[in-house]
């Protein structure tokens, strides 16, 4: 049985990875999860300089999901390179670094610094709904998606994953724009912009007023978007949005994703990623599937 998959020439032992922002750089979860068993670890977004993030409260629970507006707090690329990359290098897993910025130059500076680092892929976050500048500002307009992809590609030595926003009318347009700009892989979806009001206190539940909705609440939207994008581009996709178990992961794979990321479910059960890995193998045995790649986009 073969569970390995390929993303832009990089072979992952299985299609299961972590979703950026839910797993730090792996250090905290390494006490619960054997990182060697993951296809890849996707780190929390890192910028050219340290970002303090948003005021608290930064999260709120909602039915079958949560809202977050962390605001991409991060220690900056220099500390990240000195501390977090060497930590992850101890493990037999692929390292995917999520990159954020306020301007095109910010993104390129980080990508350039990472060029000679032992990192396997870069995921460019142009879809964070919780920061005023950068983030989603790049991700909602196909022209700017294509432009930033093209710019980042000039500096990158690793293959580039562009992370798409679901907060658009037609996600296939931004997907095609990223592909035209030279993206090697696409990941989708980032969170959906949402809001919760604390009725007793008569105020917003999170300080940023709006936050990104994640968790099982968004899964049907995410599966639909993966299916649409899989039929619109030729490059491989990483699917995410509410994956809690192998069945959820398989929905994404059957819809057209080559790999999947587990995010919010890590908070409910730190061991979710490994349960998804095992569950996919069980499914392959039950359905006599020799190679997981045979499942990608099987449902037309």
């Amino acid at each position: 049985m073969n569970t390995s998959i390929k993303l832009a020439g990089v072979t992952l032992k299985n299609p299961v990875m972590t979703a950026s922002g839910t797993f730090g750089s792996g250090a905290e979860y390494s006490e619960f999860v054997d990182l060697n068993q993951l296809g890849a670890v996707v780190t929390k977004g890192v910028a050219n300089i340290p970002w303090p993030g948003n005021p608290t409260p930064r999260i709120a629970e909602v039915s079958s999901g949560m809202l977050n507006a962390i605001g991409l707090q991060n220690p900056g690329i220099d500390v990240f390179m000195k501390r977090d990359i060497p930590f992850l290098q101890q493990y037999d897993t692929k390292i995917i670094v999520n990159v954020c910025g306020k301007t095109t130059e910010d993104y390129c500076e980080v990508v350039e610094k990472l060029a000679d680092c032992p990192v396997d892929l870069l995921e460019i976050n142009i879809s964070c709904p919780n920061v005023k500048e950068g983030g989603i500002a790049f991700g909602q307009n196909p022209k700017s998606v294509e432009a930033i992809t093209r710019e980042v590609k000039k500096y990158a030595k690793q293959p580039i994953i562009m992370k798409l926003s679901p907060n658009v009318t037609d996600i296939t347009e931004t997907a095609k724009a990223a592909e035209a700009g030279g993206a090697d892989v696409l990941s989708l979806i980032n969170t959906l912009t949402g809001m919760k009001i604390d009725v007793e206190r008569q105020r917003f539940a999170i300080a940023n007023k709006t936050g990104g909705l994640s968790g099982p609440a968004i899964k049907p939207v995410a599966v639909r978007m993966v299916y649409q994008v899989a039929n619109a581009v030729k490059i491989p996709l990483i699917g995410m949005g509410g994956i809690c178990n192998a069945e959820d992961a398989l929905e994404f794979i059957l819809a057209g994703a080559t790999a999947v990321s587990v995010g919010t479910a890590n908070f409910s059960n730190p061991n979710t990623t490994l349960e998804v890995v095992d569950g996919i193998e069980d499914y392959m045995r039950r359905h006599q599937v020799e190679d997981v790649k045979d499942l990608i986009g099987l449902v037309k």
């Binding site: 922002g21 730090g24 006490e31 303090p52 993030g53 409260p57 629970e61 962390i70 908070f267």
Partner: protein
Amino acid sequence: MSEKVKESAVIVSQEEISLNIYSMWIETKAAKTAVPGQFVALYSNDKSRMLPRPISICEIDKKNNRLRLVYRVVGKGTEEFSTYQAGANIDILGPLGNGFPMEEAKGKKAIIVGGGIGVPPMLELAKQLDAQKKYIVCGYRDLLFLDNELKANGEFYPATENGSVGTKGTVIDAIKENKIDADVIYACGPMPMLKALKEYAQANNMQAWISLEEKMACGIGACLACVCKTTQKDEHTNVNNARICKEGPVFNAKEVEI
């Protein structure tokens, strides 16, 4: 590496000890290493509630591998927990965070302060703290709870908002009214109380160790939801934010901006 797991703990007993305040003893491996001031994450059986609830540890019984959790029903998650009966299981992760630095009270006079649902973690601290003198000052809305257990572990001074028991007013009013003089404060409770204690400690040249709370998602330091502002740059985050679940929940009052 990967030695910690989410555990299915067994509920030994559950009772309502005051209006909407529940006391639950659970049997768990977490009791082996728990120290006063730490917390556990409790998971809902209703999977539409994805995030664990951080609940402070009220008492530790290492001999029987038991923890006592005293919590207030404030929402659907805690409401669900309150319906669990003895013999049922509850998923927990813990112990999490760092406890109160008990060595800071050695040979000194200490005030242990709890406010509202910040009272429970102060009980195990009162039991274990080795100080020259222990004053226990607790603020309540009106109804007292855990007062008998607290009285057995130090001089107990309650304060109530309506003055029905003890000092009428805040814990600061109770400290002043009873002319309590000490070297170090340990506290858990609502933010206005912690702010007042931080100022009081500063004005009276005392040390203060305060336990903070914030909305949490992961509970283990990965998601950066539960941060607090720090006066110095935090080593991990490289900005002036510490993680309450990981570096806290107990902080030196001087080192946090509240």
